[in-house]
């Protein structure tokens, strides 16, 4: 019983709130900038690779007018974007979704960068290890000449000669 009373209080309050919000939304006509802010996140459904906010075709002007009407009717940005996706498909989204098959577009570069980083660490390690196996850190340190292969030795000598 008590619960019901709450309902009777809340219902009109909620209704009033909705009305006020709607009236406010209707009271001020949406500006071009508000329309463009949403259109920027969408791609023209007909022209290839053209964001909706800059597309000059008649169709896109109409779509922008539609966004304006929806804003005037009090729709929120996600609602408008969802509407366009439902109408024209996922391709109207400038930013690909992060779910389903499309999430691969986001995930794979990260995996690739990760693999690259592991590869980088591995290469550096290998280089270091080879160095450790090759001997002391400086080529001027006392290392037996035999440890340097003849080809490298010849190269070094050649270079020293050129420098002189």
């Amino acid at each position: 019983m008590r619960r019901r009373i709450w309902l009777w209080v809340l219902l009109p309050l909620g209704l009033a709130l909705v009305l006020v919000v709607a009236a406010e939304a209707q009271g001020e006509a949406p500006t071009d900038d508000q329309v463009n802010a949403i259109a920027k996140k969408l791609y023209c459904p007909v022209c290839p690779n053209t964001p909706l906010d800059v597309c000059a075709t008649k169709a896109c002007q109409d779509w922008r007018a539609q966004i304006r009407d929806q804003l005037a009717a009090g729709w929120s940005e996600p609602q408008i974007i969802d509407y366009f996706v439902a109408q024209y498909g996922e391709r109207v989204l400038a930013e690909p979704e992060r779910s389903g098959f499309t999430s691969l577009v986001w995930i794979l570069p990260m995996i690739a960068a990760g693999v690259g980083l592991v590869g980088f660490v591995e290469v550096v390690r290998q280089w270091k290890r080879r160095r450790a196996a090759a001997g002391p850190p400086s080529m001027f340190a006392a290392s037996p000449a035999a440890a340097v292969d003849p080809e490298t030795l010849a190269r070094i000598e050649g270079e020293l000669e050129k420098m002189a």
Binding site: D32, E95, L104
Partner: protein, 693 residues
């Protein structure tokens, strides 16, 4: 008559390039210099022969010889002679011929260079470069022939394009051509294709040398790298200029207030640029330290394959795009050729893997070598992200049947952080010594640079509105720039102290002594200027749109745009123009009269938005005419972008060209060779940063 000469020359060019490739490979394989000499002669002839073909096509374009289908497609009486000539690369058929011609030019130039120690590579360079040339010329001969004509076949709905008359057909000669796509009539688009193609085709030279080195078993020596260093730099420079001109064209013509839209065709150009840049850096490690030999090979193969891929995307329109004007059945031919090039090169590399062992070991984890390696990794990661984002819509459509768009937000979020990581490396790497570097001494050298750049960025952030990401981005650019400038200051001060030279003379001699290094720094500064433009575009850009009555105003930043009037008139080149006139005020001060337009090309039925721009070194006010009322001109809609730092992008392009010219053409050979040499260790430890003084 002239057309037949052009067609015949094209055919001869094809035969010669095919012969040159075969004869050179045979001569190289059997060790018979007779065949190589013959191949060389044939290869040298390809360029002049193709020049005849190109000139014949240009002549047809200038004469408006509408008997040729290509001329009817891209040229018209309303176009100026200059535009008609540039229509050579305004369409599919002409572009492919132009591509092949440029490539033949590069190959011809490399054949007449003095061949000394790299003589063994000679036959294989001819074989590989000429094979690629033959492929492009064959496209022009068999698939998209620019000398085709239009024919009326009885009963057919559409005109037939063919070289000779199909049975029962009548030749069709239109009285007027369609004219060049109006969007292409801009200096950026006139300069963009040639420079881009020069970049793309230029990479054939290092690629051919690399493959020749693998085939002859000389991959272990860096001869091929030294021989092609300047060719690579020049190709890279043209590719950079092509990218910037394309950006300038987009900014002036496409009317969306920006210069880079992450469009598939832009990405297709960016990818070889990225791997090419990585290649330019990784060869330095090979030259100085004998490391990363396999890696260089992979990078040049990738760069070249991506150049072909770029042409494939641009020229076949496989990924629908605002830039891909050309559409044709070239796809399969290209696809097979790219696949064969890539797989063939990779398997060759794989067979020679044991030859390409590294000569030196890494001495310290903190060293210039690791910084370069990390930089290469970032470049490749960006390339992969861009590649994946570019082809993913196709994959998605193939796999799930859903078309999706991968727009700028993706590229900004994925590639952006990697680019910033590159900026950090760009600033730090000049401070690091080859072999190894102490963390403490690195911190000591870096500290003043970090401090100065922090102050600079804080000052900027104070002037402009503060946004944490924007501030961090600005700081990174400032850090890298200060680090590069510090290198100049250090060098100049060292000379002033030790040789008592005046500052300017010291600077000039610094360049003269080591053009390669300081030219490279100038290129870095150019890249940083472009990075600044990107930071401005990403974080500081403002836009607003509004409908105005005459006398009303629209405000943005500190500017006000007052609408004066709107008029329509007929312009040149067959267009109707609607032009608004407006006055731009900064505060209460009048700064410029602006006239944004919408041109409507009647024949092509294509509107082109021509923005009016008030440009200052700090920012551009970019005004577009978006809409108007047909009757009474009561309410006219303007869109204004405030684009900070954008002019730095163009300036950066100039700096890049300057830097490449400085570093690619040393005053004397001696200097260049000195700078290649490894120096004894104690000299290095006396001066941690570098290789010159």
């Amino acid at each position: 008559m002239l057309n037949e000469v052009g067609w015949l020359a094209l055919l001869i060019g094809f035969g010669l390039s095919l012969y040159a490739s075969g004869a050179a490979a045979w001569g190289g394989w059997k060790g018979q210099s007779r065949w190589v000499a013959s191949a060389r002669n044939a290869a040298c002839l390809v360029f002049p022969v193709l020049t005849v073909s190109v000139l014949a096509l240009v002549a047809a374009l200038l004469r408006l010889d509408f008997r040729l289908a290509y001329v009817a497609d891209v040229s018209s009486q309303a176009m100026s002679p200059f535009l008609r000539a540039t229509a050579l690369w305004g369409g599919q058929q002409g572009s492919i011929l132009f591509w092949g011609w440029l490539m033949a030019g590069f190959v011809g130039a490399v054949l007449v260079r003095p061949w000394r120690s790299d003589r063994e590579l000679f036959p294989w360079v001819i074989a590989i470069a000429m094979l690629t040339t033959a492929f492009f010329v064959s496209l022009a001969v068999f698939i998209t022939n620019p000398f085709e004509r239009y024919w009326l076949v009885p009963g057919a709905q559409e005109l037939t394009r063919a070289l000779s008359a199909p049975p029962g057909a009548m030749p069709y000669v239109p009285a007027e051509g369609d004219g060049l796509n109006p969007l292409l009539r801009h200096f950026g688009m006139i300069g963009h294709p040639p420079t881009t193609y020069l970049g793309f085709t230029g990479f054939v030279i290092p690629y051919a040398f690399a493959m020749a080195a693998l085939i002859t078993g000389k991959g272990r020596e860096d001869g091929w790298i030294r021989a092609t260093r300047r060719w690579t730099l020049v190709a890279w420079m043209f590719l950079s200029v092509g990218l910037i001109l394309g950006g300038r064209w987009a900014y002036d013509v496409l009317g969306w207030g920006g210069f880079w839209g992450w469009d598939p065709v832009e990405n297709a150009m960016l990818m070889p640029w990225l791997t090419g840049t990585a290649f330019l850096h990784s060869v330095m490690i090979t030259e100085k330290r004998g490391m990363l030999k396999v890696w260089n090979m992979i990078l040049i193969i990738l760069t070249y394959a991506l150049s072909l891929f770029g042409t494939f995307i641009t020229r076949t329109g496989v990924i629908g795009s605002v830039h891909a004007f050309a559409k044709s059945a070239l796809g399969p031919a290209f696809f097979i050729f790219i696949g064969l090039t890539f797989l063939g090169s990779m398997s060759l590399l794989f067979r020679r893997l044991p030859d390409l062992r590294t000569e030196h070991e890494l001495e310290g984890v903190v060293s210039r070598e690791t910084a370069f390696l990390l930089q290469n990794l970032f470049f490749l990661a960006i390339t992969f992200a861009v590649f994946w984002g570019t082809v993913f819509p196709m994959i998605s459509e193939l796999v799930t049947g859903t078309k999706i768009t991968v727009g700028p937000p993706y590229f900004k979020q994925v590639a952006g952080p990697l680019f910033f990581a590159l900026l950090v490396l760009m600033g730090l790497t000049p401070l690091l010594a080859w072999r190894r570097h102490g963390l403490h001494s690195l911190a000591r050298t870096a500290a003043p640079i970090v401090a100065v750049s922090l102050v600079l960025a804080a000052g900027w952030a104070y002037v402009h509105r503060l946004h944490p990401a924007a501030w961090a981005a600005l700081w990174l650019v400032a850090f890298a720039a200060v680090a590069v400038l510090a290198e100049f200051v250090k060098g100049v001060r060292a000379r002033m102290e030790t040789r008592r030279e005046m500052a300017l003379i010291a600077l000039a001699r610094l360049f003269a002594r080591n053009r390669r290094r300081y030219g490279g720094y100038v290129v870095h500064l150019g890249v940083l200027m472009i990075a600044l433009a990107f930071v401005g575009d990403t974080y500081f850009k403002q836009e607003t749109q509004g409908s105005l009555q005459v006398g009303e105003e629209l405000a943005i930043g500190g500017y006000r745009l007052v609408f004066e009037d709107l008029r329509t008139y007929a312009g040149s080149d067959g267009r109707d123009i609607v032009e608004a006139r407006a006055s731009l005020y900064r505060g209460s001060k009048f700064v410029a009269a602006l006239a944004p337009r919408r041109d409507f090309f009647v024949v092509q039925e294509q509107p082109v938005t021509v923005p009016a721009v008030y440009s200052t070194p700090g920012e551009d006010v970019y005004v577009m005419l978006v809409g108007w009322e047909e009757i009474g001109y009561g309410s006219t809609t303007f869109k204004i972008y405030l684009n900070p730092f954008i002019n730095w992008a163009w300036l950066g392009g100039v700096a890049i060209v300057l830097g490449v010219l400085l570093s690619a053409f040393p005053g004397s050979r001696a200097y260049a060779e000195v700078s290649y040499e490894l120096r004894p260790r104690r000299l290095d430890s006396a001066e941690p940063a570098g290789e010159s003084a």
